[in-house]
Symmetry: C2
């Protein structure tokens, strides 16, 4: 028998469920939701809902407007630029540090595996699988950077743009260049070439950011 898992606190459940609802678009960007309404919807009282709301607000996913309810923050092109700028700096820094450090043998293989998964997904034209593997790659890369703060910040910002990807993933060109970049970064890390790892990843993110911004502005999306 699995030792029955202790029931997670309701506030935690609330935060998890709300996050999922936001990512899935069930709580649309820009929409308002009263605490009472959410409490009923999740089958709990307002107290844990409020606690979760405060956390999500601290992570920049929602905004708490007294009497208006909790508003799911839309991401404007300007927000997108900001987020990608920070991602670019922190991730390329992590790539550089990853190259400077030594790693347990298996770890780099995981990165390799994520890249292979992306390749395979591209062959099948399975964009969702590609996106998942891409997430994994970037998450592993941050882990290799050996800076938990940077990791946490990047995770938070990645969450903020996650919703946007649902929109852009299907209208963007197939991300083939992306994967060449990933391999080049991995190679540089293997060789311990910090400067190259940093530079390539920086360019990679800058390009991706510009492409997304372009996509969004072409689509006349004022907010996502």
């Amino acid at each position: 028998m699995a030792p029955d898992a202790p029931r997670p606190p309701r506030s935690r459940t609330a935060a998890d469920v709300l996050r999922r609802l936001i990512f899935d678009g069930e709580l649309a960007p820009g929409s308002d939701h009263l605490e009472t309404e959410l409490a009923t919807r999740l089958g709990m009282s307002r107290t844990p809902i409020r606690e979760a709301a405060v956390q999500l607000a601290a992570q920049g996913l929602v905004e708490l407007r007294p009497r208006k309810g909790l508003r799911v923050l839309p991401i404007s092109p300007e927000d997108m630029r900001e987020i990608y700028e920070v991602l670019t700096e922190l991730e390329s820094g992590a790539a550089g540090r990853a190259a400077e450090r030594s790693h347990a043998p298996g770890v780099l293989d995981e990165l390799e595996a994520a890249i292979s998964d992306m390749d395979a997904a591209l062959d099948r034209d399975d964009r969702d699988a590609w996106a998942d593997a891409d997430d994994t790659f970037h998450r592993l890369l941050m882990r290799l950077g050996g800076n938990t703060r940077a990791e946490a910040v990047v995770a938070m910002l990645a969450d903020q743009v996650r919703r946007a990807r649902a929109v852009t993933l299907w209208s963007r060109p197939l991300p083939v260049q992306s994967n060449a970049d990933h391999r080049a970064v991995l190679d540089a890390i293997r060789r311990g070439d910090a400067e190259t790892a940093r530079a390539i990843h920086r360019t990679h993110r800058e390009t991706a950011g510009r492409m997304l911004l372009d996509l969004i502005s072409r689509a006349r999306l004022k907010a996502i």
Copy 2:
């Protein structure tokens, strides 16, 4: 008469007061504090205290441990390294972008003023005033970078190390090189020389970080 300000929500007061107590060291690093105790101390019920606690936890200032109370997180040398790495990357990025953008006339003068304040404080050997002006300089610099996310992240991390400065400020050498760096960054921004602004500020932060780490490890401080 000033239109009487509406009374701020208790939860906000709680967060502000707790932050101050932490910075002032009245809630010592590593110490535990029960919600009930804090509620009594701040003259309010547990509800707003909890809300504030969740916020502070999200900012990485405290940790919520069921039944142990809220624990003021100590900063280890390792934490310090992490934080300075992120500060280095985000601030130097901001310095670079600040040089690329154009600014309203008065704005750069504020930066200049902060630097002068630091000079004056150094002449008086007034380290507290120097630290305040240094804060102002770095805050303004981030503002000039034009990235509110980066600004928020940096502010959060600066808060995390604020306590440490109380310890290091008095044992470190007089920060004279610091000010030369600041002027050089400002000059580069004025000239629109992004590359130089970025590079100098990066070196500035790297040096400061190494110095602090050195100071802390010399003092055998395992945590602050």
